[in-house]
Structures are given as C-alpha cells and as structure tokens.
C-alpha cells in the first residue's frame, strides 16, 4: 500500500467514526454561533460597533471553537487502544497524525468556513470583508488544527487536560488571529487582503511540514 492510499483509508475511517456520532459533530458549530450571539448582548446591538469588531469576534470565536474540539483528534484512539496499533504499524506516525489532522479540519474547520457568511450577517460585517473572511478562515483554520495537534499530543495522557491545553495552544494561535483579522480589515478598508492572506498561506505550509512531525514526537513522549 502506498502512503497516499493509507492516508485516504485513514481519513475515510475517521470520517465514518465521526459520522456515527454526528450529534457531537455539530457541537462546535453551535458553540460558535452561541459565542457570536453573546457579543451583541455584551457590547450592545448597535450596528456600527458590531461592524467594527466583527472580524475580530468571528476569528476569536473560531479560535475557541477549534480549541475546544481539539480533543477529537487523538483522544478516542488513545482511549480504545487503536493508537497503540498505529504506533507499531509500519506507517510513519507523523503521516498518521497528518491524516487525523485533515479529518479534524474537515469535521470542525470546514463547517466554520461554510458558516462564515451567516456569522458575518449576525455581526454586520461590511460587505467587502466577507470574501476575505472566508478566504482567511479557509487558510487559517487548518493552521489551528495543525498547531493544536501538537498541544493535544502533549496533553493526551493527562486526565483533565482541557484548561492546560488552552494555556499551551492559545499563545501559539496569536499570529493566525492577527493575520486573519488583518486580511478582513484590509478588505473592509478597500485595500487588497492579499498580503496577510499570503502570510497565512506561508504559515499553513510551515505548519503542514513541521506540525505532524512534532505531534508524532510528542505522542511518543506522552504515551511512552
């Protein structure tokens, strides 16, 4: 079996498992909408103010939603022992991690990107910013999943690792947040969002090459 074939069957398996518990699947989505709905309640329903903070709010909510769903990447596999089988298989562990991260993004990141227009309406995001928001989320959320996989690999052996995971992962999410919102703000101001988007793309490539290796290393440390 070549590596791509393994990757594909791994993704198929994980997607099937995710689909079997589809009730959980929607939780991050609901969480996201709920967080967005809290902001107008907190700062007031005034359209102008909401439009001003729209890009930041959507991005922060996306960060939080991704973070809360990170446990999905490895935890069930570690708990039922399939991770140990993957350890001893001939496939490089980093490759397996990559498959799991891709599935995680398909399950939690992609819905977020698709949901962006709705969130933009809720937050009165100015029209020119919408396309940039979708693009920046499409480039940025995979980075969040990739960085998150390292954090979750480090904390997977800890029983109550949730709060700790946020402490580990959120500081590393800062650059994604900055350039994600910058792309939207640029577009709203009538400038080209290409610069921040390209930086996000660079971050994605960087994380794509290094994060699976690091996460595999971290898994070996925390499950040894």
């Amino acid at each position: 079996m070549n590596l791509l074939h393994i990757l594909w069957s791994l993704i198929q398996r994980d997607l099937r498992l995710a689909w079997r518990s589809r009730g959980e699947l929607l939780n991050p989505v609901f969480f996201l909408i709920l967080v967005i709905a809290l902001f107008p309640l907190g700062v007031g329903p005034e359209g102008k103010l909401l439009a001003r903070i729209a890009s930041g709010t959507v991005w922060v909510a996306a960060l939080l939603a991704t973070m809360l769903s990170l446990d999905l990447i490895f935890r069930s596999d570690v708990e039922d022992g399939s991770m140990e089988q993957m350890f001893v298989s001939q496939t490089p562990l980093s490759w397996i991690v990559l498959g799991k991260v891709i599935t995680h993004w398909l399950v939690t990141g992609l819905p977020l990107v698709l949901l962006a227009p709705l969130l933009a309406i809720l937050m009165h995001l100015p029209q020119p910013g919408l396309w940039a928001l979708i693009q920046s989320l499409a480039l940025g959320t995979p980075v969040l999943s990739l960085i998150g996989s390292v954090g979750v690999a480090l904390t997977v052996g800890i029983r109550k690792g949730g709060m700790l995971l946020s402490l580990l992962v959120l500081p590393l999410y800062v650059p994604v947040l900055i350039f994600g919102t910058a792309a939207v703000e640029n577009a709203i101001a009538g400038m080209s969002p290409a610069g921040p988007l390209l930086i996000l793309a660079a971050m994605l490539l960087f994380a794509l090459t290094l994060a699976p290796l690091t996460a595999a290393w971290a898994l070996k440390v925390s499950l040894s």
């Binding site: 390292v150 402490l167 910058a182």
Partner: protein, 249 residues
C-alpha cells in the same frame, strides 16, 4: 583539548558529578552576584546622571532592561537544554530545562511589572498594547504553559521531556509571535507611542550601570538555576546510594 571538553560534558551529565561541580561553583557565583549587584545599584541609583527628559523615573530601566534580556535568554537556554534532553536523554539536561522555567517566568513578570510602573508616569497609563509589552505578555504565557505541562504529568522524567518539547515548539514560534505582534501594532495604532524613537544612543555613563546590572542578573540566574537543579537532583535521585550517604552525614 576537544576530547577533555567532551569528556567533561559527559561527566557533567551524571547527576552526581553535576551536584559536586555545582556545589563548588555556587559560592563563587554568589559572591560575584553580590558584588555586581551592589556595584550596579550604586552606579545606577547614585552615579548615573538624571535623564533630561524622563527625570529620575528612567532609573527603573536598570532593572527592567536586564530582566527583559534575561526573560528571552532563559527561554532560549531552556529550549537548548530541552533539545539536549530529548536527543541524548540526559537527566541533568531535563532538570536544567525545567529549572529554567520558573526563573525565566519570574524575570518576565518583573519586566512586565517594572514596565507598567514606568509606563504610568511616562505614558500616563499602566498598560499600553505596545508591541513589546504584548509579546512580553505572551512570553510569560509560554513559560506558564511549560510549567503547567510539567506540573500536570505525574512521571517526572516524562513530564520533563514533554515540557522540553513544548519549549522547543515555543522557541520556534517566539519570533513568529513577536514579529506578527509588531506588525499588528504598526497596523492598528501607528505612531501614538514610540518607545525609543526620541532617544539617541545611550550615554556611556548610563550604559555602564546597565551592563553591570546585566552581569548581576546573569550571576543571579546562575545561582538560582544551580540551586534549583541541585534540589531536583536530590529529590529524583533520593534512592541512589550517594544521596543516601549525603543525607546520613
């Protein structure tokens, strides 16, 4: 020459040798720390001239700047010894990496507090989302993450390796975080506050005191680190016969 250096390095990897060696080193470092600290404080508080723009309150810089340097320096040192711990599985390197974290976090905290104390009279506010302040804040969180991960895992050696790996991830991300914060800041608020733009190069009379204070923080770090590593060695090697003999004496 190279061979003896290499052998010395390997011997230092044994907890027992490290314990003996650091025990001999600490008094010297301590004396050096006391001397440089006293001299540095004298220089910075009494000898260095008053700043023509900032008055006396600029003197907090003699604590602030060395602490800020230490915050970064210790993080890099932590990551380097973390790498050594992960690659060669050296017990002592694990302990050094872990011992670095609280000291570095303390220096970063001091940097934030002194910066805020200085900011109140200078900028008129305790906190400004200035690029340096913000990245310093995230540096503190990176330290806290390493400490939190180490505390959460029960097996000490596993905890140290996981924390070391996190430190490595942090050191790769630190420049990315720093430069994106700098970029973010220039995007959002332009030139409201410029930390050092109005200032020319530092006058030698002020620089001297700063350098002495920097040396003092380095010596203090040496003392604090070695003491902490020694305590960890005794704790983790408590079953070893040489520790038993030491305790019995």
């Amino acid at each position: 020459m190279w061979k003896t250096l290499k052998r010395w390095f390997h011997q230092l990897g044994s907890p027992r040798t490290f314990y003996r060696f650091s025990g001999a080193l600490i008094p010297w470092l301590f004396v050096a720390m006391v001397i440089t600290l006293a001299w540095g404080l004298y220089q910075s508080l009494l000898v260095a001239p008053t700043d023509y723009q900032q008055g006396e309150s600029y003197r907090i810089l003699y604590v602030h700047v060395p602490s800020a340097w230490m915050g970064l320096f210790i993080y890099v040192l932590m990551a380097v010894s973390g790498l050594i711990a992960l690659v060669w599985r050296m017990k002592v390197a694990e302990m050094v990496a872990i011992a670095c974290a609280p000291i570095g976090a303390a220096y970063t905290f001091v940097t934030l507090v002194t910066g805020s104390l200085w900011g109140k009279p200078m900028w008129g506010t305790w906190w400004e989302w200035d690029a340096r302040l913000t990245s310093e804040l995230f540096l503190l969180f990176l330290y806290l993450g390493v400490m939190g991960l180490y505390a959460a895992i029960e097996d000490r050696r596993k905890a140290a390796r996981a924390a070391a790996l996190l430190a490595l991830v942090g050191v790769v991300n630190l420049p990315i975080i720093h430069y994106s914060v700098v970029w973010w800041n220039t995007l959002h608020q332009g030139a409201t506050v410029k930390l050092f733009s109005g200032e020319s190069h530092m006058h030698p009379s002020m620089l001297k005191a700063l350098l002495i204070m920097t040396a003092a923080t380095k010596f203090h770090f040496g003392v604090a680190l070695l003491q902490s590593v020694r305590a960890r060695i005794l704790q983790q090697e408590s079953k070893a016969s040489w520790v038993q003999e030491l305790v019995d004496d």
